[in-house]
């Protein structure tokens, strides 16, 4: 949790000004995201399931070599998750049969606009960067794995295979490449640009341009435009997303919104309760003292 001056004043204010409940909490909603943040878009009608993105991701992130090669298509027989004990990858492509169509879906971190994992993190190890990716700070993480339970897309994974130096593993949108001006590895490798990299605002326009340009080819839905308050990774598809095992029940409000109002009160409670109960104790104690004194005086008189 890094604080700038404004945040410090806010925290200090909550300590001192007990009477101004609620003022500090409302300010948190005004931020609508960094304007030039990057995102990615997957066009599921273009993807041919060649798994070049998986191979490029593996190479760019120095992940261990998989058991089977990236040419192997038998992996499509089961639905894989991006990171499991025996499959250490940040992204996977799964095959779905929808009617007569074969659709390939790339799975990875969605890089939410307001990520649930970031708000769940106790120590601020996860962070939504101004560039767009949600990144993880190894030095800060305490390994509580709250991010794993918080994520509506079941993406972050814990490196259980490492006993002494376990890491949180998920796609970081190649943040190390983006800051150097190189596109994320998967987008670079994709032979048909089924993965497009760019500013999220431009990608959203591109997504709707493609849908409106070929309404028969696409369904009228950009997954990630509003889901979970908006995600950095957008999907457009020719078949309903519900048939591709996209979570459809996550709503359109950002997950941190659900807890922000409540959690902002915790500090105030921490401050006010000792003061209130201390005050009550002080009052009752001061009332008892003179009584004892009077009794003693009365005893003396007797």
């Amino acid at each position: 949790m890094k604080m700038n001056r404004r945040d410090f004043v806010k925290a200090g204010g909550s300590l001192i000004a007990l009477s101004l409940l609620g003022n500090t909490a409302s300010a948190a909603h005004s931020f609508t995201g960094y304007p030039d943040r990057f995102g990615m878009m997957s066009d599921l009608t273009r993807c041919i399931g060649c798994r070049r993105c998986e191979a490029a991701c593996n190479k760019a992130n120095n992940l261990p070599e998989p058991k089977t090669s990236f040419e192997d298509t038998s992996v499509f027989e089961e639905k894989r998750r991006p990171y499991a004990a025996d499959v250490q990858s940040y992204t996977v492509v799964n095959r779905y049969k929808v009617g007569e169509k074969t659709v390939y879906r790339k799975v990875q971190c969605m890089h939410c606009e307001e990520p649930a994992c970031v708000s769940a993190c106790l120590v601020g190890a996860l962070k939504k960067t101004p560039e767009g990716p949600v990144v993880w700070n190894e030095k800060v993480c305490i390994g509580c794995r709250y991010c794993i339970t918080a994520c509506p897309f079941y993406i972050p994974a814990f490196e259980y295979s490492s006993a002494f130096d376990p890491r949180i593993q998920k796609c970081f949108m190649c943040h190390q490449r983006i800051v150097k001006g190189i596109v994320p590895a998967c987008a670079e490798a994709c032979p048909v640009e089924a993965i497009t990299f760019g500013k999220r605002s431009s990608l959203l326009k591109l997504a709707w341009t493609r849908i409106w340009g070929e309404p028969d080819r696409y369904i009228d839905h950009v997954y990630g435009e509003r889901e979970a308050g908006g995600t950095g990774w957008l999907y457009i598809s020719g078949v309903p997303f519900s048939q591709l095992e996209f979570p459809m029940d996550i709503g359109t409000s950002a997950f941190p919104e659900l807890t922000k109002d409540f959690l902002s009160m915790v500090n105030l409670t921490l401050v006010s309760w000792p003061a209130v109960f201390g005050g009550i104790y002080l009052m009752t104690k001061n009332r008892e003292k003179p009584l004892h004194g009077e009794e003693k005086e009365e005893e003396d008189k007797l």
């Binding site: 700038n4 925290a11 200090g12 030039d36 070049r52 030095k139 800051v179 760019g198 104690k285």
Partner: protein
């Protein structure tokens, strides 16, 4: 990460320090309430001092974090401090070389080789019998442009809808040859791992072996307008090719009547 305070505030955040300060103050407050001492007033300055000390310390630390540059961009958080280049490469020579090393791009389909390998005209001759020029050269209006004239930079921030060369060629072929792009198994129809016969690995044939010396054989007074050699012989092919200057081959018969500025639509002289 020099002092304990800095370490604590970096790891746990400034809120941690504030909570610690508050707990200290609360313990003092508790002791104050429970003291049997009558002159309670003497301990009040101590409490105030502790409060102030922690307040000043946390204020200093938070200022320090803002000025040491690490957090300075939080102040101007609306503009990312990182400067991004205008052009995001997915076709840089470095990348292409890397791909070649990985042998990802070896094209070795005999049917494709038969029509494409060698001169541009062979591929065009075969394809033009099946489809119109503009089916592939989709945005060429008055003049036919080569793919790479438009599709050079992928993920162009100005126009994201324009794919890079790799994706442009794939998707354009894919538009008709759906059967070749049915799934990952089909990649091998064109791409094999054999680099010895790969189109992508082989150097493109140079239709022209012209050098600077060849140009000045005619242009004795230098090149007008200071143009680069490449552009000169792009635009004025016919000047040599109709008159046989510098042993240039004469135009084929079926090229009769074509204007001099359309050559480069099909013919791409390399080098220069």
């Amino acid at each position: 990460m020099e002092t304990l305070v800095e370490y604590l505030t970096y790891v746990k955040g400034i809120g941690y320090l504030v909570v610690v300060a508050f707990l200290f103050a609360f313990i003092t407050f508790w002791l104050l309430v429970h003291t049997k001492n009558k002159d309670i007033i003497k301990t009040v300055p101590v409490v105030v001092m502790i409060w102030l000390a922690f307040g000043v310390a946390s204020a200093l630390v938070s200022n320090g974090h803002n000025t040491n540059g690490h957090d300075a961009k939080d102040e101007t958080a609306l503009e990312p401090a990182v400067e991004f280049p205008e052009y995001y490469s997915n076709g840089s020579p470095a990348t292409i070389t890397a791909h070649r090393v990985e042998k990802w791009l070896g094209v070795n389909n005999t049917e494709y080789l038969a029509i494409s390998y060698g001169s541009a005209s062979n591929f065009h001759k075969v394809m033009s019998e099946k489809i119109a020029c503009t089916d592939c050269h989709h945005n060429s209006k008055d003049e036919i442009h080569a793919c790479s004239d438009c599709h050079s930079a992928p993920f162009d921030p100005e126009d994201l809808s324009k794919p890079g060369l790799k994706a442009a060629i794939h998707t354009r072929c894919m538009y008709c040859h759906k059967e070749v792009f049915g799934g990952p198994e089909d990649c091998k129809l064109c791409h094999t791992m054999d680099t010895s016969t790969s189109v992508a690995v082989a150097a493109p044939e140079r239709p022209h072996a012209l050098t600077w010396e060849d140009c000045v054989r005619c242009h004795k007074d230098g090149i007008p307008g200071g143009q680069k050699i490449k552009i000169v012989y792009h635009d004025f092919c016919i000047k040599c090719h109709t008159k046989g200057i510098a042993d240039a081959a004469k135009l084929p018969e079926d090229h009769a009547g074509r204007a001099g500025d359309t050559c480069k639509g099909c013919h791409k002289p390399a080098g220069g």
